[in-house]
Symmetry: C2
Subunit: 293 residues, 2 copies
């Protein structure tokens, strides 16, 4: 959250504080894992309601209860907007939640994970049930490397690039700059799409506005969509949908969306369309203005 969130555990609660204004607390029980990797602090807690929770640098990355929202939206929205997607790159996403959803699309031949911190995936393999199966899938390739370098080395290679990063501070800061977006645009095949998580327009309108401005230097079409994520700040989360070949609604494979939705708990064809309808305050934020003035 633009450097403005910090978290920690106290008396059976994980408490996250942001913007000097708000706290979110989740009741946790056992601390199952904690380590300092080369890049960040990785921790996993158990909790009764939310299931297991992954923390990076003391911030909630996912809970078993609501990770489905994030992972379904960041994958199925772009994948159902692309004709027969074959090659998909995930930058970040070491928890393999994106990969799990990507593999639901029968046309996908190759799903490459480019995660800078191999320890994230190793820890997740021990603690989250989907990781073992996903990483064993022959369509999956794990490349523990810098995403910025990877996209530069693979021009015109991908139908979809998903930037499943942490917040625009720390290890992920380069993933929110226009130099990176320009490289991503070059590594897309014709009809290709880039999707990225872009924080909350409620608490961080200036971040969303800045990302849109940076994206617009590399992509002709930049749209945003929203979803409810109860354990992320404000519950109102945004993603960017960027392409040089058309807007988000240039193509929609409704049949595939309906098929995929059968194994989803959030995504369906109606949500696909509705998610791009933005409240006025989010439109203002995306246009680079302060909605709270």
């Amino acid at each position: 959250m633009s450097g403005e969130m910090r978290g920690g555990r106290s008396e059976g609660w994980h408490i996250e504080e942001g913007f000097g204004a708000v706290r979110l607390g989740l009741r946790v029980s056992a601390l199952l894992h904690e380590e300092q990797s080369e890049y960040q602090k990785i921790a996993v807690c158990e909790s009764e309601f939310f299931g297991r929770i992954l923390f990076l640098d003391d911030l909630i990355m996912l809970t078993e209860r609501d990770e489905f929202v994030y992972h379904e939206m960041i994958t199925h929205v772009p994948l159902c907007g692309i004709k027969a997607p074959k090659r998909v790159l995930v930058i970040g996403g070491g928890d393999c939640g994106c990969l799990r959803e990507i593999l639901k699309h029968p046309s996908v031949e190759r799903a490459i994970l480019c995660e800078i911190d191999e320890r994230v995936t190793e820890v997740c393999k021990e603690h989250f049930p989907w990781v073992e199966k996903v990483t064993a899938d022959p369509r999956v390739e794990l490349a523990f490397a810098d995403g910025v370098a990877h996209v530069e080395e693979h021009p015109a290679e991908y139908d979809l690039v998903i930037v499943d990063s942490t917040d625009p501070i720390g290890p992920a800061v380069n993933l929110f700059r226009h130099e990176f977006y320009t490289r991503v645009a070059k590594c897309l095949r014709p009809g290709g799409v880039m999707v990225a998580q872009t924080e909350t327009p409620f608490y961080a309108p200036e971040v969303v506005g800045r990302i849109r401005a940076e994206l617009s230097t590399a992509f002709r079409f930049v749209d945003f969509f929203l979803g409810f994520i109860p354990t992320y700040p404000s519950g109102c989360w945004s993603w960017a949908y960027a392409s040089n070949d058309g807007p988000y609604d240039a193509y929609f494979d409704e049949l595939r969306a309906r098929e995929v939705a059968r194994s989803c708990r959030y995504y369906n064809p109606e949500i696909h369309r509705a998610a791009f309808s933005l409240p006025n305050f989010a439109r203002t934020a995306i246009n680079g203005e302060d909605p709270w003035k």
Copy 2:
């Protein structure tokens, strides 16, 4: 939140805890008002980010920062679904936020507030800037009385009844029962609609399911819509749209919606349509099943 939320102030924070699982904290500064009325504890706090905050029985009812979401959605969605609405009843809603939005519709001749606790409106008049102007409007009538009795005494009178209640415990419990819904159905004019706030399908799926079942005994058409409210539990809030004359999309005055949206920070014609597209877990909850099984 189905009796499962409790809140209080501690060291400059209002902390609300629910479902044994989650806490939401808002940083507050001065306590501007606190009293025990005949019905409930009423308090108003100042806060830097959220502006003034109204609490009933120690739970957040509204903050100046995000009350626009709740009030725009509970009013403009039904009003733009009704041809030339003339008479509108608000049950609860003592903070007058609904009235403020209703008055934006030029066809409205009469907006009646039926709030059981006059002190809520009096306290809000002192602390929230819109109340004075709204209550002085000649179209507004304040009836500090029991909503259940009021609807019984006014058959075939209203184009729209808005149930802007607290959670289904305490003073509001009767506003969530099918006896009440049956009476509301009878006080509607042809083409009339009832809208009610119906909690969060994320933490309280069983509550939303129960409300749908109760509503269905009184109304042929019951739909639900969603909106992002950062200071309500989960951020994912639901409302019911009930009628005996057609589903929510039987009529939509897009021109009026667009006109009204010019003074809104959330609502617009695209949001109007999109809000009825429900994620799978919310559909499951509304169908009376447990989405977390």
